[in-house]
Every structure is written in C-alpha cells, then in structure tokens.
Subunit: 213 residues, 4 copies
C-alpha cells in the first residue's frame, strides 16, 4: 500500500497512460486526502475530483455515490489493516501479547497512513448508519473481545472481566490516542508514538492481568 500522498504525484505524471484501475485508485486516494482535510460532510465531490485531477462526473463511473466512495475508502484501506490485525489471532502467543501486537499495529498505522486513520477515526468512529453498512466485523473491537475472552478462559486474565466491556475500554484508549494525533492534541512524531504505545500498555493492559499471573 502506498502512502496516499505519494500516489498523487505519480498519478499526475502518468495521467495520460493511466489504466482504468489507476484512475479509480487516483480518485480514491484523492478522496482520502480530502475527507481527511475537511471531513466527509464538508467535502464536495468537486473538491475530490479537483484533487484527483479529473472531471467530477467521472467519479460516478467508478463509484455509485459520495457515500459509496466513503465506503470504498474504508474497504480498500482500513480493511487491509484489519486483516493484518486478524492474523494476530492465529498465533499461539499469550493473550496479553496478542493485545500488545494489535495495539501496536493500530497505533503505528498513524505513521504510515495518517490520512486514512484521520478519516476512519472521524467518520466511522461515530456513525451508526455507516458502521452498519460496513458491517459489524469492520471494527477491531470484536477481535479484541475474542482475544480477551480467550485470555479469560485460559486464566491469563482476571476472571471477573466482561470481555465485551473490557474490549470497548481497551479499544477506546487506542482510538482516543489516534484522535489525539489526528486533532493535533498530542505530539505525533514517531518517537512520541512509540512512547504513547508504552504508556498505553502500562495503563490499559496491565489491569487485565490476573494478580496471580
């Protein structure tokens, strides 16, 4: 996956020879940047078309609507990430380590795909309609829930923990860190991200561990 910012220049250079698939990607990347900059509601299709360097009518050859374009942004960016997270589940590490890995993947995404994170955090985080269209599996929270449930079952975690609630709290911590970076409320450089990761583990994961563990 290319960093969205880079794709733009390349697309421009190769514009004339761009294959259909490239044109589609070009629009999708432009959408991510524009949504990230102005938010979905404030972004006009004309803005996206201009950013992509195409006529705004063309957008409707590749996407059914502005809404569907936002869905595509999710499916073709965030879902890649979700798959990566999902693979963690198949390891036989302790649940705590699995959570650590999941958190690390999510948090470091900020460094690789900041615009995608921006859009996902701002638009998906709070919209029930969108989340429903995308599907429940879309959010990492269910995955985290399964990992925690397994940790409890295996006796690695406290027994009296409700996995769904605990997963919500854990994911909330991650989400809020991403939000802090997105909204420029926290230092967002690589070093700060790594440090935040450690603090997150200390605060949010240690409490899960069984005292005897």
């Amino acid at each position: 996956m290319t960093r969205s910012g880079e794709g733009r220049i390349l697309s421009r250079l190769a514009e004339s020879q761009a294959s259909a698939e490239d044109k589609r990607r070009q629009i999708l990347d432009a959408a991510v940047r524009v949504f990230a900059r102005k938010g979905f509601h404030a972004s006009r299709v004309g803005d996206i078309a201009e950013e992509a360097g195409v006529a705004h009518g063309l957008l409707y050859h590749y996407f059914e609507s502005k809404d569907q374009l936002l869905e595509a942004v999710f499916h073709e960016n965030w879902s890649v990430l979700l798959e990566r997270i999902g693979s963690v589940e198949e390891t036989d590490e302790p649940a705590a380590d699995q959570l650590r890995h999941i958190a690390a993947i999510l948090l470091r995404t900020w460094l690789h795909l900041p615009d995608v994170v921006r859009v996902v955090v701002r638009e998906f985080g709070r919209s029930p309609e969108l989340a429903e269209r995308i599907g429940e599996l879309a959010r990492p929270i269910e995955l985290i829930e399964r990992v925690i449930a397994r940790g409890v079952a295996r006796g690695e975690f406290e027994q009296d923990i409700d996995p769904r609630v605990a997963a919500t709290v854990v994911y909330g911590g991650i989400d809020e860190l991403l939000t802090g970076w997105v909204l420029d409320r926290l230092p967002a450089d690589e070093e700060a991200v790594v440090a935040a990761e450690r603090t997150f583990f200390a605060v949010s994961l240690r409490g899960l561990l069984a005292k005897s563990g």
Copy 2:
C-alpha cells in the same frame, strides 16, 4: 436536572403560562432530542421547531443560527456536568479515587441525560472546529490529566507515566463506553452501567497504580 424527555410533556401542558425563558428551554430540549436522534447535519431546523411545537422562525429569536444552537446545547447541558466533575479536583482524596469519581460521574450521566451524552459524543467528540469554538477546557481530558499528574507527583502512580497520554487513554475508555451505549452496541440499562463501571476501573485504572502502592 430533569431528564430532557420529561420536560417536553410538562412544557406542553403548561404551554400557555410558559415564560420566555421556558420557551427557550423548550427549543433547546427539542434540539437535544432531534440532534440525538438524527445527528446535527441531518437535523433540519424545521424538525427542531416541530419537535418543540413552535414555528421555525421562533428559533431565531432565541438562537442566532443552527450552529449556535448546537453550542448552546453544549454550554447549557454538558458544561453543568463539567462543573460537577471539576469539583472533584478540589477534594483531597487520593488521585485514584478522584479518577474513580470522575469516571462515575461521566458514565452515570448516561442514565440521567442520555440524549445530551449522545449529542456530545457524536458531535463534539470528533469535530476540531466545534471543539475550538467551545474552548479547550470543554473536554474532561485536561482535568483527568491534572489529576494523573498530581498522582504521579505524590508517588501514588507509576513514575514513568506521561500524564497527557495516560489521560487520553483513560478518557478514551470512558468515551468508548458511552459510544457503545449510544450506538446500542452494549447493554445500556442501569445494572449494565454499574457493571461496566467496575470493569472500567479494573482495566483502565489499576494499571496506573504504583506497584509499591
């Protein structure tokens, strides 16, 4: 503070004697309900007026614009809550207990003012522009940061914790629980709320405590 839904029926009954201040409140309460139901962007001023049982023009006697109405929803509902949270800071309890109280107040607000929580979580949580207009002190996160910083200084919490990052993680857990209730992803009755509170403490606050503590 009455649950916003109740005020409506009373207002209707007492409509004829309603003072100007009541009419303002009537519109404000209607706005909270409509924003909660449909989101700010999807809510039309006509919807709010209809919900309040007044002509839409009247809305502009009491509020400058639809935007300003949303700000008023915040100032005249959420800020009451923030003050209540703020008073916790003045006690001389251990920092961990202060955090517990803050979390309890925020989480239980859901039971008293669900619509207000809905609006605040959906509209303020992620809008940088709005947050700026309202002011930085608007969010509880800064308060939590101060409490944690004090806990670290007093040796009650781990020394290597960055208060700002930790506060973000802690607040994120609370925020995500509220979101879960708002979006009906978690059981939201009173019992479930109390249980979630306990889980939140177990997961998110225990990790802060110094091991020697």
Copy 3:
C-alpha cells in the same frame, strides 16, 4: 415644518406624555431618517421602531404597512412642499421667474429637509408603482409643464418647444442636483447650493427664452 432631526429629541423627552398624534409623528420622522440612511428596501420595520424608541408592533397601530408608511412620508412631508411650489403658479410673474422660484424652492429644500429629499429622490423618482399609488400630481414636473406651456402661449418662450419634454428636461436637472447632494457627489453646503442654483438657471433656463425676448 420642523426639521426632522429636531423632532426626535423633543419626542424622546416628552415620550411619556406624548399624545397619540405625537407618537405617530415620532414614528414618521424616524421612518424618514431610516429610509434616508438605508433606503426603503433595506430598512426593516424594527429599525424604524428602534429609531422611534417604540416597540415595532406599535407601528401597526398608526400605519397599515411598511408600504403605507412610505406613502405617509410622502404625503406628510413632500406634499407640503408641493403646495408651496403650487402657489407660485398663482402669481402673475413672467414664466421664467416662476420657474426660477420653483427651482429655488426645490433646491433649497435640501438645506431644510435633507432626509425627506433623500427619500423622495431615491424611492419615488424611479418607482412606477409607487408613483401611481401616490398619484400623478405628486411630481412637480406637471406643474413645471404648465408654467412652460403658459410661457410659450404668452410668447415669453420659444414657440417650437414641447412643454412636456421641456419640463422633463428642466426637472431632470433639478433632480440630478438633489441626487448629487444626496449621494455626496457634489458639495452640499449652503454656499454650494446657492451657486448651483445660479448655474442651473444659466444652463437650463436661458435656453427657453425666445431670442427676441
């Protein structure tokens, strides 16, 4: 006739004892000032009420509508002037002197009732609907026409002059001078007004005189 500006202060002082007739005048004077300042279309009834120091609802006790208020401004200010002009017709001066007097009255009105002139020039000058409601006799142009016709009949003026067209030209000169003062395109102090009067006579009236005269 009092200068409109003066009435205002007196009205304010005597507000409590003001008779009904005074209140009406108070609103009328306020309307003249506001219309003069912002133009009829841009003036809101609330502006006029505020300027008059009364609630805007009261306006509808004395006047049927905003339109009718404008008509009243005309009838109760401008028509006084028209009567004064009309009396010139009854003298047995030469037609040229009658025109001189008419022009002088119109032009010097600017010094006495600038706001009234402002409103009349801006609103009546160009609105066919309004002029119709007010009545054809409203404009001084018909009077001027009669004077010129008499001058032609008596051999004082050139024989080949069409009185209606000539009156239009003469009145246009006066109107444009007033407009120049209203819009601040010409010096508008007393001295300048007197000088303009002389220039007006020189340019616009001398041509009328029969060469043999």
Copy 4:
C-alpha cells in the same frame, strides 16, 4: 447588438446547438428583461431562470450571485454604450457638438436597448453602493464634465460656469427623458425621441454658449 427581446426567440430555436457562451448570454438577456419588468428587488432568481428557460441552479454556474448578475448586466451592456460615448471625446469638434453627440447616443439607446436602459435608469441611477462597486467612471456625467470644462477653457462656453454642476444638470435632463420613456410618461416612439432630442438641445445646451459666441 440586437434588441434583447429578439435574442430570446432565436436562442430558443437554437437551444440545442447553443454553446456555453450562448447560454450565459441567454441568462443575461433574460435577467435584463425580468429586471426591466419588475425591478431588481422584486425579481426572483427563479423568474430569471424561467424566462431563460433553464433550471435556476444553472444561473450559479455563470454568475456568483443575483447581485453579481446585475453587475454583469451593467458591464456587458451599458459599458458598451459608455465606450461609444467615450470616443466622442477624441474628436476635435467644438464642445457643443460633442455634447450634442453624447446626448444623441444616450437618448437613442432607448430605441435600441430599451430594457437595458430601463434597468440602468432604475437600478444604477440611485444606488450609491452599486455605483461604487461598478466604479465612478461608470456614469457618463464625468465625461460630460470634461467636455464642458474644455469648452469653458476654449472660450466656447460661458466663463462663469462650474463644469461639474453644469454636467450634473445636463445629464439630469437626459436621464429624466429616459426615465420618462421607461415609465411611460412621455411618448417613446422613434419620432418622439428625435423631437425630444431637439427640445433637449434647445433647452439645455443653448444656455451654455457664450453670448459672444
């Protein structure tokens, strides 16, 4: 330049082949007709769109706002006329003849572009804000002033004449004639226009000439 009324039927016939520039002109011509008929304030954008035979949204492709459309009416119609008038200044005729030519051009415009004259006379003549946006050079009065000043300097005109005031008077006569035609207060057919021209010269220009001239 074609009479605006004619363009409409042609546009309708040729609608399918109309280039983008034609469509713009189609809307502009419709605006002139509607403004002329109802006045700017009473004209709704929907009226203009309907008159032009397009959806009202299209208006905003070609013009920024209703206000800007009025400005365009001026720039793309009246300014053509102003240029024509301006060229008179460059001839070496006596000043009196230059004035004659200027007046003739202005007055005969009524025969060619009656709707444009209607709009200009009604909307521009009296609105200081609009006149300012359009620019001071917009009004022919400055041009007339320069011609008179030159006439005075050359000894062709009376020495004691103030060119600015005299120009105001002269232009006022022209403007009022146009107004008379616009508001149907004077006969407006070609013959009447030519006759009015002669009367105008007789009344308004003869007085300027030096007695010794």
